[in-house]
């Protein structure tokens, strides 16, 4: 259900962009999804395939999901480390004073529009 909600927002954002730029058909969408965004990409693609059929603008589009790594910053030893492997505790110094630098984003990188 979570993925479906995001698909609806994605479709809305794309529809708005298409309107602003006079695009009638989108053939390709590149979505950048962080490793810890909480989005299950398989699920997401299924939801997208279901939903796109309802839209003239999107029905022939291909969705490409690019997963990017999550990186955490340790404020105690000033180092970065891979979030998924080590979680909240810094593998270098054992500190819990850490925060996510990136990896929870869900960004539309680009779209390919068919021209008239």
């Amino acid at each position: 259900m979570h993925e479906m909600g995001i698909v609806l927002h994605l479709a809305k954002t794309l529809t708005q962009t298409a309107k602003e730029q006079n695009i009638v058909k989108i053939s390709h969408v590149t979505l950048e999804v962080g490793e810890v965004s909480g989005i299950l990409t398989d699920y997401f693609s299924d939801c997208w395939d279901y939903f796109k059929g309802r839209s003239e603008l999107l029905k022939d589009s291909v969705l490409e999901v690019v997963t990017t790594p999550a990186v955490t910053w340790c404020d105690s030893c000033k180092k970065t480390y891979p979030t998924v492997k080590y979680g909240r505790i810094c593998p270098y110094c054992g500190s819990g004073e850490t925060w996510l630098l990136y990896g929870n984003q869900c960004v539309i990188r680009d779209i390919t529009a068919e021209e008239e």
């Binding site: 979570h2 479906m4 927002h9 869900c106 960004v107 990188r109 680009d110 779209i111």
Partner: protein, 221 residues
């Protein structure tokens, strides 16, 4: 064929809607509080208590959001609070557009504070802006003090954390201090209010905070 680089967040259009709704409400001097929690945390009971304590000043209204049914709205109406039920049609959260439509169906004449009772869920509602100026989350004692570890985003996105059902503390292994430490680690500015809506403990502090937020909105109007 042309490629257009967007580099835009998926929720961008919702974020814009939310900002617009927030400033429109501000212009009318109305505070919108987005109330988030898991099902059964005591949201409706808490709101009924606040309504009774406020006794019309500030005047409050409640926008109930559920996947189906109107049991919560009926309970609020019985308590004498203007209430509208919004259905999310299966969606696990409210977004700005749904919130706007819900508010349009309400009589907001003279209303100072609107509570949006979001869908009971600790994950999705945290990811979608609603237009609320304050995010308030509820965690009830029976749910356990480990929730900040499990659902960090909800805790980082909130302005206030209300720990409800403190009258049940003797029966559960819930340590308020541990919970506070875990939550503050995620969000150092978080205000924490342990309350019992049933017994009334801690309600005054929470209500003062809400009243101050209403006053701030009116001042900025």
């Amino acid at each position: 064929m042309k490629v257009i680089e967007l580099n835009e967040s998926v929720t961008e259009s919702n974020d814009r809607d939310a900002q617009e709704l927030s400033s429109q409400l501000r212009g009318r001097g109305i505070l919108l509080v987005n109330l988030m929690s898991s099902p059964g945390s005591g949201k409706t009971t808490l709101l009924k208590r606040i309504a009774a304590d406020f006794a019309g000043s500030p005047k409050m209204a409640v926008l109930e959001a559920d996947i189906a049914s109107d049991v919560d709205a009926v309970r609020m109406e019985e308590a004498g609070v203007t209430s509208v039920q919004a259905h999310t049609d299966g969606m696990c959260h409210m977004d700005a557009g749904m919130t706007r439509r819900g508010l349009e169906a309400m009589d907001l004449e003279g209303v100072d504070i609107v509570f949006l009772e979001n869908v009971g869920n600790l994950i999705c509602p945290a990811e979608f802006a609603t237009g609320a100026q304050k995010n308030m989350m509820i965690l009830s004692v029976p749910e356990g003090d480990d929730k900040p570890l499990k659902y960090p985003l909800m805790f980082s996105e909130s302005d206030a954390l209300v720990i409800t059902k403190t009258d049940a503390l003797p029966y559960f292994d819930f340590d308020i201090r541990t919970c506070e430490e875990r939550a503050k680690k995620l969000n150092p500015g978080l205000r924490i209010f342990p309350v019992s809506a049933k017994a009334g403990d801690g309600m005054k502090e929470l209500e003062e905070w809400l009243k101050a937020a209403v006053t701030e909105i009116k001042r900025e109007k």
